[in-house]
Each structure stands twice: as structure tokens, then as C-alpha cells.
């Protein structure tokens, strides 16, 4: 993040600080005038900025919510209602926080799919990708624990179902579960530790995302062509070009968030969570939030509990191996005629899994879920390596600034 040519600042205070702590030049070199960025980035590259915004929104609203929330089994549900009714604009804080989590995941999933489409995980950006997957895993843990805090029926039973997954571990499973709960069932001690961790983890995400940005700036972002910037002509400074380009996407993201917050704040939530947690009464269908549904479908597609847990873990862990499972040396799907179709089939597969995750796991949905689960893993383990070996990529353009090789590329193809 450091580096770049030393800038001369006019402001004396800035100069004084810069001499002792070169923070201004570090920012310039990260998202400023000294960050050369490929000039052909499209709007799909803006999601990183949206994600940063989402994290800040979650932390900011969360800090204020924590001032009024009480992490105790007997008081949590009532304290959330206190926030909704008696705290000034408490309803706004809570609805922004609850819907902000959905914005966060939606942006993260698009960000990840962009990386998959354009091969952003390929050398030399494998670590950048892996750090991103680490962030995803922490995000999931944070979101899950946050969902437990309102202590409604879905909160309680989601906590029960998910913590019980650990009991599938052979020999020590039940001891681990008891240790996680801080007792013999999900109860106040569980809620209190979840609250503590839910407050801690966003700051861990913040730290790890700095690593993500650091790794990003070693080789710079990829671009829709997947070829490296060769000359100055291929790049523009991040500021003002991409700051201006991404601000409108941030505006759009805020419009979508505001629409949900003000007009459909409960669209993505579940009615059962407005019933206080009751350990003696199970809701008819325990479903997680929408962003966990594909993984939930994978979990439930296996008749064996341990098997389900293993596949569930593997469905995320396999992302760590993606840089090595994809054997193609061409990054961008733009030049990969075969992979391109498999990419969209994969997207469809994940959407199908999401639908299955919301259904009762029996009959047709269960069968579809099993097939979609098999395909999910086949995409990574079979399709990606084989497509990489057998696919004939289209010729790559010479450089970013000369993509208008259309005539040239056509000529090459015709010659072949």
C-alpha cells in the first residue's frame, strides 16, 4: 500500500504528517491519483467499493444498536422491541442493519461471481482470492450470530440447528457442542457469547479486508480482458476515474437498500422471528436467511448428518482450491467460449440450490437438491480442470488500449 512517487503537498500540516507517517501518499497509492488502474474496468469491478460501504454501514449501525440491546435470554427479544419503539430512530437503525446484511451478501456474491467469470483468482492473485474467501467465511459466521441476537423463534432454532451440526463430529461431537453452547442447550450463555463475537468479528473482517486490498495492490486489479496492463496507455489513475465511476454504483446500492428499509423492511425476514424464542415449540420449517439457502440445501441433500456437514463445509472450502482447479491459462471468460457456458450453468445451479434450501427436504425438491449438489461439486472438480485442458481459447488482444483488434482477431480466426 505504500510506495509510489513522493508527492509534494502544499498544506504545511499535511507535509508535517506525511514526513512522519506517509499516510496521505499511502491513500493516494491505494485509491488515489497514484494508483494506475486498467482503463477498461467495467461496473462489475465496483462491488469492492460497495462491500466496503456495506461493512461501514453495518459497523456504524451495529455500534448504536449495541448501546440499547441486552444479550440475555430473558430480555433480548424485549430489548429489540424497545429499540424498535422507544429509541429515537431505533427502527431505522435496526432495519438498516438487518437489510444491510443482505446488501452485504448480495454484493459479496456478485463480487465473487465477477472473480469467477473473469478469472481474477489466477496467478499471481491466488492469495488475494484466498483472503477473499476467508472474509466470506468470517462474514457468514458474523451474519449467523447476528441473526441469533433478536432471540425470536427463527433465531433460537437456527442457533440450535447450526450448533448441533458440530455434534456430528465423531467421538467428541457432543462435548464440543456443549462447550459451544456454554451449557446443555442453546440458552443465555450461548446468546451472550454470540453477541460478543458478533461485535468482534466485523473488526476482524475490516482487518482482513485491508490484507485483501494490500494483496490487490501488488499486481493491481484484473480487467475484463484478463491481460496485464503493458503501458501507461493501458491505465488511468484510480482517482478521479474510478472514484467517479463507482460513486454512481454506490448511489444505486443505497437506493436499493433504502427501498427495502423504508418500504419492505421485512421482505427478506421470517414471520416466526417476531415470536419470542421458545425452546419447547419448534417452528414448522426452520429456514436460514436467503444468503445461506444454497449451502443449507447442500447440507440437507445428504441423508447422513456427518456427511451433510462435510459437504456443507466442502462447498465453501472448495473455493480455496479454485485457483488450482481451473487449469486454463486464459483469465477472462470473454476469450473462453466453453467455460463461459459452464459459468452461467453454475450460476443457475446455485440459484436452484437456493430455491431448494427454502423447501421441505423431501420429494422433488430433495431430488433436485441432490442433483444440484452433485453438479455444484462437479463444476469445480471435473468441469473446470477438463474445460481448461480441452478448450481452445479465442486469441487474446495485444494490449488493453488496442482492444479494437476486432478486425485483427477476425483475421486470425479466419486464417486458422
Amino acid at each position: 500500500m505504500a510506495g509510489g512517487p513522493a508527492r509534494q503537498y502544499n498544506n504545511r500540516l499535511v507535509r508535517w504528517i506525511e514526513y512522519r507517517l506517509p499516510i496521505f501518499s499511502a491513500v493516494e497509492a491505494t485509491i488515489g491519483r497514484d494508483m494506475p488502474t486498467p482503463k477498461n474496468l467495467n461496473y462489475w469491478w465496483s462491488l469492492g467499493s460497495v462491500l466496503f460501504l456495506a461493512l461501514i454501514i453495518q459497523i456504524a449501525t451495529g455500534i448504536f444498536l449495541a448501546m440499547h440491546y441486552i444479550p440475555n435470554g430473558a430480555m433480548a427479544f424485549d430489548s429489540v422491541e424497545h429499540i424498535m419503539r422507544n429509541v429515537n430512530h431505533g427502527w431505522l437503525l435496526r432495519y438498516v442493519h438487518a437489510n444491510g446484511a443482505s446488501l452485504f451478501f448480495a454484493a459479496a456474491y456478485i463480487h465473487i461471481l465477477r472473480g469467477m467469470y473473469y478469472g481474477s483468482y489466477k496467478a499471481p492473485r491466488e492469495l488475494l482470492w484466498i483472503i477473499g474467501v476467508v472474509i466470506l467465511v468470517i462474514m457468514m459466521a458474523t451474519a449467523f450470530m447476528g441473526y441469533v441476537l433478536p432471540w425470536g423463534q427463527m433465531s433460537f432454532w437456527a442457533a440450535t440447528v447450526i450448533t448441533n451440526l458440530f455434534s456430528a463430529i465423531p467421538w467428541v461431537g457432543s462435548e464440543i457442542t456443549t462447550w459451544l453452547w456454554g451449557g446443555f442447550a442453546v440458552d443465555s450463555p450461548t446468546l451472550q457469547r454470540f453477541f460478543s463475537l458478533h461485535y468482534l468479528l466485523p473488526f476482524v473482517i475490516f482487518g482482513v479486508s485491508l490484507l485483501h486490498v494490500w494483496a490487490l495492490h501488488v499486481h493491481g486489479p484484473t480487467n475484463p480482458m484478463g491481460i496485464s496492463a503493458r503501458s501507461k496507455q493501458d491505465t488511468v489513475p484510480y482517482h478521479p476515474y474510478y472514484t467517479s465511476k463507482y460513486m454512481s454504483v454506490i448511489g444505486l446500492a443505497l437506493i436499493i437498500l433504502a427501498f427495502f428499509v423504508f418500504y419492505e423492511p421485512l421482505f427478506l425476514s421470517h414471520a416466526d422471528n417476531f415470536i419470542a424464542a421458545n425452546p419447547l415449540q419448534t417452528p414448522p420449517n426452520i429456514v436460514p436467511e436467503w444468503y445461506f439457502l444454497p449451502f443449507y440445501a447442500i447440507l440437507r441433500s445428504v441423508p447422513d448428518k456427518l456427511g451433510g456437514v462435510i459437504l456443507f463445509g466442502a462447498s465453501i472450502a472448495i473455493l480455496f482450491l479454485l485457483p488450482w482447479l481451473d487449469t486454463s491459462r486464459v483469465r477472462s471468460a470473454r476469450f473462453r467460449p466453453t467455460y463461459r457456458y459452464f459459468f452461467w450453468i453454475f450460476v443457475l445451479d446455485v440459484i436452484v440450490l437456493g430455491w431448494v434450501g427454502a423447501q421441505h427436504p423431501e420429494g422433488t425438491p430433495l431430488l433436485i437438491g441432490r442433483l444440484a449438489t452433485i453438479y455444484y461439486f462437479a463444476h469445480f472438480i471435473i468441469i473446470l480442470p477438463f474445460v481448461g485442458w480441452f478448450e481452445r481459447p479465442r486469441p487474446l488482444p495485444e494490449s488493453i488500449s488496442k482492444p479494437v483488434l476486432k478486425s485483427g482477431a477476425a483475421a486470425t480466426e479466419a486464417a486458422e
Binding site: 448441533n164 476515474y241 467517479s244 448511489g251 425452546p279 414448522p284 420449517n285 426452520i286 447440507l299
Partner: protein, 258 residues
């Protein structure tokens, strides 16, 4: 207790993971309540004050005999169009527990504006024993705690029928078209002429059901009107801001050869 909870939890997890045996029950529940055109739906939706006040009367005279509403305070009644003096007078109709007196004996005092609506029963056991074992749910959040809450509440209140032949009713249960499983412990609470509205509106069962559903939706979403008006301002602001951002981008990139 903890052991029982653990066992229940294990059973629930098995159910959740392996698919519900309660599926039959869920299937029976699928009688969708008819959609109603509520005044509070839509981008500019608001509550009609006369309907809210009539709904409060239905709640107070009928529902509150068995159902608590612990998250709503008397001071909130000002929001539905009562004056502060009227709300105070309504509060003082109730006696609530006061501070212990100088000898340490419990006392009661009239309710104040700051007090939540008092519960009809001292505790869950008392509520169950007075209602044939069933617990009347707290109504503060009822329209949020049910799918299509306002429609459901309204439909439920007018959905009482004679049980179709062939349906074996459990003792003390009533047949209701819209209740999951169709057997509800609550007897039909509304009937023609049970109350008289102060504003002269005909208190038909349909009218009372609609009014009380409106009131309950307000009780669950007291911020709704503020939320809608603030949402409109926020959306206008954000849309203008985004358009400006877009023009800035056009302006910045115009000079670049790309």
C-alpha cells in the same frame, strides 16, 4: 428441564435436517387469507385515524379480556389521535402494581401514560388455565408474526364456520377456515352488536375485524407512517445524488480516449 430441552433440540434438528413429519399439518394450513386493500399499504400508505380508534375499542372491549399487548404503552395512544388527556383517562381505568408502601406491603395505583397495557393474566399458567390449556398470544406483534399479517388477522376473525362433516373436532376447539390445522381454541370473539362504535359506524363483524386488524398492524408497526414519509424524502435525495454522480463520471471520462 435442561435434559428435556436437549432432547427436544435434538429432535428438532433431526426434523429440520431430514424433513418435517409436520408436513401434513403445514399442507392443511395453506388456505390463503383473502387480500384486502389496506390504507397503510403502498409507498404513501397511512393509517386512518377513525379506523385505528375503532380498532382500539374492539381490542379494549373484546380482545384484551384474554390477550396482552405488552409492548404498547398508553402514551402511544396519542399517536392514533387521542388527546393526552383522553389517553390519561383511558390509562386510569386500569390498576397496576405500585411501589411497596412504608410497611413493605404491595400496593396498586391507577395506570399512567408511561405504563404498558396491563396483561389480563398474572402469568402464563393463569392464562392457560383460564383458556382450556391454550395460551392467548400477546398481540403487540401479531401482524408481523404471521405471514400476510393484517389479511390473516382479518380473515381469522371472520373465518369461523361449522366444522365440515367428517372433521373430528377436539373438545373445546372451534373450526376456523384460516387457522393452521383449522382447530382453534379461541371461540369466535366477534358477533353482531357486541360493541357500539362512538362514531356511529355500523359494528358488523367484518367492520370490527377490519378495524382491529388495522389497529393491530399499527401496534406492530408504530413507525410505519414516519417510515413511509422519510422513505420518500430519502429516495428522492438518493436518486438525485446518483444522477449527479453519473454526470460527474461522464464529465471525468469524457476527455479520456477510451
Amino acid at each position: 428441564m435442561t435434559r428435556l430441552r436437549g432432547m427436544l433440540a435434538a429432535a428438532a434438528v433431526t426434523l429440520a435436517l431430514a424433513g418435517g413429519a409436520d408436513r401434513a399439518l403445514a399442507a392443511e394450513a395453506e388456505v390463503a387469507p383473502p387480500k384486502h386493500d389496506w390504507s397503510f399499504y403502498g409507498l404513501f400508505g397511512t393509517f386512518e385515524r377513525p379506523a385505528l380508534q375503532r380498532g382500539y375499542k374492539v381490542y379494549k372491549d373484546v380482545c384484551s379480556a384474554c390477550h396482552s399487548m405488552k409492548f404498547v404503552a398508553f402514551r402511544n395512544l396519542v399517536d392514533i389521535g387521542f388527546t393526552e388527556a383522553e389517553a390519561k383517562a383511558l390509562a386510569e381505568e386500569y390498576q397496576v402494581a405500585g411501589e411497596p408502601d412504608e410497611f413493605g406491603d404491595p400496593t396498586t395505583r391507577p395506570a399512567r401514560l408511561a405504563d404498558a397495557f396491563p396483561s389480563p393474566y398474572a402469568n402464563e399458567q393463569a392464562a392457560r388455565s383460564a383458556n382450556g390449556g391454550a395460551l392467548p398470544p400477546d398481540l403487540s406483534l401479531i401482524t408481523k408474526a404471521r405471514e400476510n399479517g393484517p389479511d390473516y388477522v382479518r380473515a381469522l376473525l371472520v373465518g369461523y364456520k361449522d366444522a365440515p362433516s367428517g372433521v373430528a373436532m377436539a373438545p373445546g376447539m372451534n373450526y376456523n377456515e384460516y387457522f393452521p390445522g383449522h382447530q382453534i381454541a379461541m371461540a369466535a370473539p366477534l358477533s353482531e352488536g357486541i360493541i357500539e362504535y362512538a362514531d356511529g359506524t355500523d359494528a358488523s363483524v367484518e367492520q370490527m375485524a377490519e378495524d382491529v386488524a388495522t389497529f393491530l398492524h399499527w401496534a406492530a408497526n408504530p413507525e410505519l407512517e414516519r417510515r413511509h414519509s422519510m422513505g420518500f424524502q430519502t429516495m428522492i435525495f438518493l436518486i438525485l445524488l446518483t444522477i449527479l454522480f453519473w454526470f460527474v463520471k461522464q464529465r471525468v471520462w469524457r476527455e479520456l480516449d477510451h
